[in-house]
């Protein structure tokens, strides 16, 4: 797959933590509405690649172009704004604010963007309905199951209508049944709204929901389009 028409393109990314290289010349690209699974063994640099693509971490060298803009040249405030408005995130665990109710958690990104509470919660409720967790809207994260919590997190990641969704082991803490349901809902919703999904996983079962796989090994990313 060539980068032509890509929404997000990363070229020759290098990132080192202390003396440990996490990325060593990784390349990556994704098109609008595409679901790409980033796979690799533990410690291979998949999460670091995701963090660099999302503008959470600045790479030591290399470039990340999003929609024609260079992420590495942006200030922290600009990158934060981008993450608030155009990106969505789902992590493995510890992502919901425990003191807010589920619907408040889902509405949080909208509220951070300045949307009024009522409107934000109405839109959040719609997404929760779609992800089949409307019944836990007013419960706190501590009062719902892991699968429900993860679906709430997916709803939160999609509520702003992001153009790219970054999911880091979104089913890592779930049993297979719950994990599959979450993946079905996530990919279905993303494809409907033409949201690109960067899906970091080490499970082939989860990667099966993607259109394309990229394998990260020793800090280098290899597109498996031709291999598959």
């Amino acid at each position: 797959m060539t980068p032509t028409g890509s929404l997000l393109i990363a070229t020759s990314l290098h990132k080192t933590y202390g003396h440990t290289p996490a990325l060593d010349g990784a390349d990556f690209s994704i098109h609008p509405g595409e679901v790409v699974a980033v796979m690799g063994p533990s410690g291979s640099g998949k999460s670091t690649l995701l963090h660099c693509l999302a503008g959470i971490v600045k790479p030591d060298s290399g470039s990340v172009h999003y929609n024609g803009r260079e992420l590495t040249a942006m200030s922290d405030t600009e990158r934060s704004g981008l993450r608030r408005g155009e990106f969505g995130f789902v992590f493995q665990f510890g992502q919901l604010v425990p003191e807010l109710s589920c619907v408040e958690n889902v509405a949080l990104p909208l509220r951070l963007n300045g949307t009024k509470r009522k409107e934000a919660e109405t839109r959040a409720s719609a997404w929760m309905e779609r992800l089949e967790v409307a019944d836990v809207a007013h419960k706190r994260p501590g009062e719902v199951s892991g699968g429900q919590g993860q679906r709430v997190a997916v709803a939160r990641s999609l509520v702003t209508g992001p153009r790219v969704l970054f999911a880091d082991e979104p089913t890592g803490a779930l049993d297979s049944l719950n994990g599959e349901r979450v993946m079905e809902l996530l990919t279905e919703a993303a494809r409907e709204s033409r949201t690109a999904v960067v899906l970091v996983t080490h499970e082939a079962r989860v990667a099966a929901y993607s259109d394309r796989e990229v394998v990260v090994r020793d800090g280098k990313a290899r597109d498996m389009a031709g291999v598959r």
Binding site: S47, I56, S80, Q95, P98, L100, L112, R140, G142
Partner: protein
């Protein structure tokens, strides 16, 4: 699994009989966990130790106060020159003394001038080896330093003595005391106003100690409660530092087979270790504070390091109560959670806080205080029972406020709903989830502020009564010096020297004496009527009598009060008066010296002079009366200073010291208030502020701990673009809401206690709005401080590195 739904309260295991050895082993294991968990464990243990240590240091200092004052008073008594017996007649072994204290730029300097009466062995005051000979002096170390410094340059002129040594500690009330003993000649005592003789130093206690003034006793009781209760609360808070992390560790222990009781004992052991370390840290801090206190002076009070010794029984109580309370607090904290093998289960819906017993405490306090209305007024006996009742009432009222606080915080935050901005929502939701932590931290502030407000009210009211209108008018003259002179010439000379002093703009000099009635030539000179005669120039006379015109040579008369009989005083125009007096200050009826009041003398009305006194009798200008004719005059110089000359008052004091070694100059002020009340008010304010800062420190630790627990969540929030300001504001609100509620409650409680205290001492009700505003301001400052200190770590934790798991 922290924060998961409780599947129902886990069944408590039957309590098996546990041997002492098992207890000890579990406690010891807890102790080991306190230090063997790497940096995290040490950080938590050190936090607890420092927190407890700060509290312990304060408690040890408080327990040293009785010894500090006892030692100070004992030294003060030993060097006292007051005697309660008959007046001492001069003899070979007596000492002639006069107080020669002075003031230098608002610093009081104690001093005595002395001369042996005979050739025997006069008593030597404590701290020096011998009586200074004329022209010699002993000085305290602080005075020696002051005299040797640039700051004391101007003061050196006031001491025309050679320093022969430094007064030892036994002769000083504190290390920073400015004091001296100077030797002067017997002849120089002729220029000293108030003098006496002693045959020994020191006062013996006359029977039992005087009971404390009841109002003062009340102040001390409430003061101790107000300052120490928050410290105890702080210690309890410090013992809970790092609780959440510890609970997770205990869950891991459950997984490998520890039962519930064992985990509780292990947790208790961990707290015990922290609090024991805290005792050691506290002792260290106390020793450090001792050294610091020994080298500073606050409001003219300083203490020797050796005076700061905790009372043994109180120290023992502290040593036993602090670790015990740490253990109890930990066990109570563990009651609300169940530590299960797969994690910590907090009771999802904690029991609703009950109001009835929380209200009962302050009401009980009020019930104890109400019957004491008027019971601590002046003249009422301060019986022990009353004191205990007052103390119990105040303690219950203040503790009641802290007990009410969690209920109020819970009740209020519950009503907030989900409205408001994102930071507000995050903060209030957090408080709704667990308001107990916030309430605990704030409860110390509540006690300190409530108590401080109540005491400020008491001080303001008592102080207002204590503040007396002196009648002095500092606009007409700023200083007054009563110059000891033996004749009129000396008075003239003294006035001239004052006039020539730098910084003196003008001087009102009056020379006064008495004249007696010549018509009563009785044998008993003590029954002869007398009148005052005041000699001064016209500008000065205008300040002491109401006159419209005055020329040198004029004489004025002001009628004396009517006790001389219906015809008034004997001083009338044309009347003759006797100027002669004997050595014992009675009219000399044998060798009379007559002066005739001029027939031109006019009757006038008196006028208050700048010191507020009204004079009567004869007022003569120097042209009408020669002051050299006065046998034993007194001279008063009312001095107007040039405000443009700095240290004018010090130049005047130097001139006074040159005129008489024991003369001081008094500043005229329109109102006066006893220093003690001002000192206590300031001390209370400082104490309350220190307590608030201490509580602020514990709130900072609690907030940091909460932030650390949420490190990953903060990183996730950053990942989806949350602004720093959003989270900063949420920390501010999270601190502000409980503190504001706490302050509101403490203002209400403080005012209630203040009203009670005022009723008890029989004072009119008055609210010290300034004090109230200040304390509230300090409370607000604590909110800001906690937020500001929390921001750098918050921002540090908001880095995306927190998302990394590998």
């Amino acid at each position: 699994m922290s924060g998961q739904e409780a599947p129902g309260a886990p069944a408590e295991e039957p309590r098996a009989r546990v041997s002492v050895a098992r207890w000890a082993a579990d406690l010891a294991m807890g102790g080991r966990f306190a230090v063997t968990g790497g940096r995290e464990s040490w950080a938590r243990t050190i936090m607890t130790a420092v927190g407890v240590g700060l509290g312990v240091a304060l408690l040890l200092l408080a327990s040293s106060v009785p010894t500090m004052y006892q030692q100070r008073n004992e030294r003060g008594d030993a060097r006292s020159a007051l005697s309660f017996g008959d007046e001492v007649k001069p003899g070979p072994d007596t000492l002639r003394l006069a107080n020669a204290g002075t003031t230098y730029r608002d610093q009081d300097i104690n001093g005595m001038v002395m001369a042996p009466d005979g050739k025997g062995t006069p008593p030597v005051p404590p701290g020096i080896d011998r009586i200074p000979a004329a022209g010699e002096m002993w000085v305290s170390p602080a005075l020696k330093d002051l005299l040797g410094s640039d700051e004391g340059k101007l003061l050196r002129d006031r001491f025309p003595y050679r320093t022969i040594g430094v007064i030892g500690d036994s002769g000083l009330s504190g290390p920073a005391e400015l004091t001296y003993y100077a030797g002067i000649s017997q002849k120089a005592f002729g220029h000293v106003n108030s003098q006496y003789h002693i045959d020994h130093w020191g006062t013996e206690k006359q029977g039992k100690d005087e009971p404390l003034d009841p109002a003062l006793l009340l102040l001390i009781i409430v003061g101790c409660v107000v300052l120490l209760l928050p410290v105890l609360i702080f210690i309890a808070t410090a013992a809970r530092f790092g609780g959440e992390r510890r609970d997770r560790r205990l869950a891991a222990l459950r997984l490998v087979g520890a039962d519930i009781h064992m985990t509780r004992r292990i947790a208790a052991g961990e707290s015990l270790f922290g609090s024991l370390l805290g005792l050691a840290v506290g002792t260290g801090l106390f020793l450090l504070a001792r050294e610091i206190i020994g080298s500073i002076e606050i409001w003219d009070i300083s203490f020797f390091t050796s005076d700061i010794v905790p009372s043994a029984p109180l120290a023992l109580v502290i040593a036993a109560a602090v670790p015990a309370s740490a253990v109890v607090v930990t066990l109570i904290a563990l009651r609300g959670i169940a530590i299960e093998p797969l994690g910590v289960v907090r009771n999802a819906k904690p029991k609703r806080r009950r109001l009835w017993w929380r209200l009962l405490l302050p009401l009980l306090g009020m019930a104890l205080l109400l019957p004491l209305a008027g019971g601590f007024g002046a003249g009422s006996g301060g019986g022990n029972m009353k004191a205990y009742q007052a103390a119990a009432g105040a303690v219950l009222l203040l503790i009641g406020i802290t007990a009410l606080l969690p209920w109020v915080v819970e009740a209020v935050v519950e009503r907030f709903g989900g409205r408001g901005s994102v930071p507000w929502q995050l903060a209030t939701r957090r408080l709704q989830l667990s308001s107990g932590t916030a309430s605990r931290a704030v409860s110390g502030i509540t006690v300190a502020v409530a108590g401080a407000i109540a005491l400020q009210m008491l001080f303001a009211s008592v102080g207002a009564q204590d503040r007396e209108d002196t009648g002095q008018d500092p606009n007409r003259a700023q200083l007054i010096a009563n110059v000891p002179v033996s004749d009129g010439d000396q008075a003239r000379d003294a006035f001239a020297r004052y006039r020539a002093t730098k910084g003196v703009r003008d001087l009102l000099g009056v020379t006064e004496d008495y004249v007696s009635d010549v018509r009563h030539s009785k044998d008993d000179p003590t029954s002869v009527p007398e009148e005052a005669i005041t000699v001064a120039d016209c500008p000065t006379l205008r300040e002491v009598v109401r006159i419209t015109s005055c020329r040198n040579g004029d004489v004025f008369l002001v009628d004396s009060p009517s006790y001389y009989g219906e015809e008034g005083g004997f001083a009338k125009p044309g009347a003759q008066v006797n100027l002669a007096y004997r050595d014992d200050r009675t009219p000399d009826l044998r060798q009379k010296k007559l002066w005739t009041i001029p027939r031109s003398a006019t009757k006038v009305k008196p006028r208050q002079d700048p010191t507020g006194s009204e004079r009567t009798g004869i007022f003569a200008t120097p042209g009408a009366f020669d002051i050299a004719d006065l046998p034993d005059p007194g001279a008063s110089a009312m001095i107007r200073l040039d405000p443009k000359v700095p240290d004018g008052v010090e130049y005047v004091r130097n001139t006074s010291a040159a005129l008489s070694p024991a003369m001081d100059v008094m500043r005229l002020t329109s109102t006066s208030q006893s220093d003690e009340f001002q000192v206590i008010r300031k001390a209370l304010f400082i104490g309350a502020t220190a307590t608030l800062l201490l509580i602020g420190a514990s709130m900072i630790v609690t907030t940091l701990e909460q932030l650390r627990e949420r490190k990953r969540l903060l990183s996730v929030l950053v990942a989806f673009g949350t602004r720093r300001t959003t989270l900063s504001w949420s920390v501010l609100w999270q601190t502000a809401v409980p503190v504001v509620l706490g302050l509101a409650l403490s203002i209400a409680g403080g005012l209630a206690l203040g009203v009670m205290l005022l009723k008890m001492v029989g004072q009119p009700l008055a609210v010290d709005w300034t004090g109230l505003g200040t304390m509230t301001g300090v409370g607000g400052g604590v909110i800001l401080l906690v937020t500001l200190v929390s921001l750098p770590p918050l921002w540090r934790m908001m880095r995306p590195e927190g998302l990394r798991t590998e």
